[in-house]
């Protein structure tokens, strides 16, 4: 029968295609790094360097697998069982959530690595269009009538929380510590935002590729990345008068690495972030270092001078900042609630 031959052929084809399955890394040990969104390019370089280093020093082939996404989303996935060996997230609060909600990370994780598990930091800056047509120099310039600010959503993106806190903190410093003034500033700023993308990278895409908005509020590292990736657009990075010290963190997922027996590898991987190679790569990707002596003079201070303030200085702790600003009913919710009933 003609038909059954067809079916047989089809079945064979399906088997042949499916039989090979996703390529398993046969001879290599794997390490899964669950990271936030705008670190894709950095980790491509760092992982290659680490894999080389580990092969040379330990004679073992290792393959670092990556999963990227919004910081909060990634933390949620780890809590729900994404088998991460290490997490490298945008917010300490997200690692704390993993520790508190699942116990996968042991609570003292910040004490185990230098600088409270922050291998390098970044800040929040403005990315503007070629020639800075709106003459944006500092935070106050963002409130110009008709100017559109693009930023991701603080409830899903770690970068957006840093954005929000940077704006709040800068306004608060400007008004001699007045939270009322800061609130007014942030409320007006949020009115300039035409859309909230789910993650920092999505916001960059909207701004750069879709041509929406006048200013992108983003990680300093991400802003420079965009400048480099789209030379034809002539994008410019503007450093405001002062901004927040945005500190991504790294942690070993204790319960998982102990179970898998990959602790040594995972810890070595995180320590590699602090090694001269790791620090050099971080600077190449426009992160800022706590200790510039670690890298060659040519690589130092690549992003340029910037006055920064710490989270603790303005907001206490992450727990406090989250409760005040980002929890349901917090300032973000209050400030984005429509004044009148009509929404669209």
């Amino acid at each position: 029968m003609v038909v059954s031959r067809w079916w047989g052929l089809g079945a064979l084809a399906v088997l042949a295609l499916g039989g090979c399955g996703p390529e398993q890394t046969r001879d290599a040990v794997t390490l899964l790094n669950v990271s936030y969104d705008p670190t894709r390019e950095f980790y491509r370089d760092l992982n290659a360097a680490f894999e080389r280093n580990w092969l040379e020093s330990q004679g073992q082939r290792v393959r670092v697998l990556m999963s990227h996404g919004g910081s909060g989303k990634q933390a949620r996935a780890v809590i729900d069982g994404l088998p991460a060996d290490v997490v490298t997230l945008a917010l300490a609060a997200d690692v704390d959530s993993i520790a508190n909600r699942s116990g996968l990370v042991i609570a003292d994780w910040r004490a185990r690595l230098p600088h409270a598990a922050v291998p390098f930091y970044s800040s929040i800056v403005f990315l503007v269009r070629s020639g800075n047509p709106r003459r944006v120099r500092d935070w106050a310039d963002l409130l110009q009538p008709g100017l559109q600010v693009v930023m991701p959503h603080p409830q899903t993106s770690g970068g957006a929380r840093w954005n929000y806190l940077a704006a709040w903190g800068a306004a608060r410093l400007d008004a001699a510590g007045s939270d009322v003034a800061a609130r007014v500033y942030v409320q007006r700023l949020l009115r300039q935002v035409p859309l909230f993308d789910p993650s920092a990278r999505a916001a960059t895409t909207t701004f750069v590729q879709r041509g929406l908005g006048d200013v992108l509020l983003t990680w300093e590292s991400e802003a420079w990345m965009a400048v480099a990736a789209f030379p034809e657009q002539g994008l410019e990075v503007v450093r405001p008068g002062c901004s927040i010290r945005a500190e991504p963190v790294v942690a070993v997922v204790d319960r998982l690495v102990d179970h898998r027996g990959s602790r040594a590898l995972a810890e070595a991987y995180l320590r590699f972030h602090y090694s001269p190679t790791g620090q050099r790569l971080a600077v190449r990707h426009y992160f800022r270092l706590f200790d510039e002596r670690a890298v060659a003079a040519a690589d130092r201070d690549r992003p340029g001078a910037l006055r920064t303030f710490g989270l603790a200085q303005q907001f206490g702790s992450w727990a406090q900042a989250n409760t005040t600003h980002f929890a349901p009913g917090g300032t973000f919710d209050q400030l984005t609630r429509p004044a009148s009933g009509a929404t669209w």
Binding site: G81, L82, S102, R201
Partner: protein, 276 residues
């Protein structure tokens, strides 16, 4: 007597059909291929043969290979009991089969997280046995099965219902057993509809985005299907690469349409030829 509208109405309608479909169907398709080839053929080939893209392609094919046989088996079983028999609760069961079709894919992903996540109903039990469902292949398969389960059944049920039981009863009376009856009598009547449902379910399975995105964990080279890979590339400023991979999926969609068209032609011929 022809029942036609005036010629100008006819032409206006035809023109409208083309413009509307051109605007909403052809143009998006053209955009995919246009953007994919923006950086030239070499860049195109490089982005579709890159290891992560190939791994995604293999995973998508594997998923289809797992999902399709199960869908076929379920579709035939469901069609047999719903198409050939009347029983209490039949309408409810039919609606239940349709349900995944109307559920948001995000909800489809969410329910499997609630069930198999580390803090879900079965999570702790699975964790003890080191069985991974969510963020591993079984989760992707389950989510795909959920969203595709109505397709085969929906195509075959009405056909079985329409054809009734006469032929099967005759075969049974003549001494055939159940399996013989099914394979010799029922199967030839429904095989094209089954294939039709299989093609639709396959297209949906290979293209599923929302549900799989919730349960996949997005591990490059391991749990990334083609549609998820498109999103990843898109988020890495590699737009032409994203559209290149998307164009693969579009080609798959066009192939689906072609097969579907051939089958429809076959089905109408069968209907016109046989039952008379």
């Amino acid at each position: 007597m022809r029942r036609d509208e005036p010629a100008w109405v006819r032409w206006a309608l035809i023109l409208f059909a083309w413009v509307f479909c051109g605007l909403f169907l052809v143009l998006p398709l053209a955009a995919v291929f246009g953007e994919a080839l923006r950086d030239g053929w070499q860049a195109y080939l490089a982005s579709v043969t890159e290891p992560d893209a190939l791994a995604a392609l293999r995973l998508t094919a594997l998923t289809a290979a797992v999902v399709l046989p199960l869908n076929l088996a379920f579709g035939l079983a469901a069609a047999w009991c719903l198409g050939k028999f009347r029983f209490r609760g039949r309408a409810l069961l039919t609606t239940l089969i349709d349900l995944p079709f109307a559920v948001s894919p995000i909800t489809a992903g969410l329910i499997f997280v609630l069930l198999f996540g580390l803090h879900g109903w079965l999570g702790p039990w699975l964790a003890e046995r080191e069985w991974r469902v969510i963020f591993a292949l079984p989760g992707i398969w389950l989510a795909s099965l959920f969203v595709t389960c109505p397709f085969v059944a929906r195509e075959v049920i009405p056909l079985m219902q329409e054809q009734g039981c006469d032929e099967e009863l005759a075969a049974l009376t003549l001494g055939a057993n159940g399996w013989q009856t099914f394979w010799r009598v029922t199967w030839p009547n429904v095989r094209w509809a089954v294939l039709y449902g299989a093609i639709l379910s396959n297209a949906r399975c290979m293209g599923e985005f929302g549900a799989v995105s919730v349960v996949s964990g997005h591990i490059r080279g391991l749990t990334n299907t083609l549609p998820l890979h498109v999103e990843i590339l898109y988020n890495e400023y590699q737009f032409s690469a994203a559209f290149a991979v998307a164009s693969l999926l579009s080609l798959l969609a066009l192939l689906t349409l072609l097969l579907k068209k051939l089958l429809e032609w076959r089905l109408t011929r069968q209907r016109q030829g046989e039952p008379a």
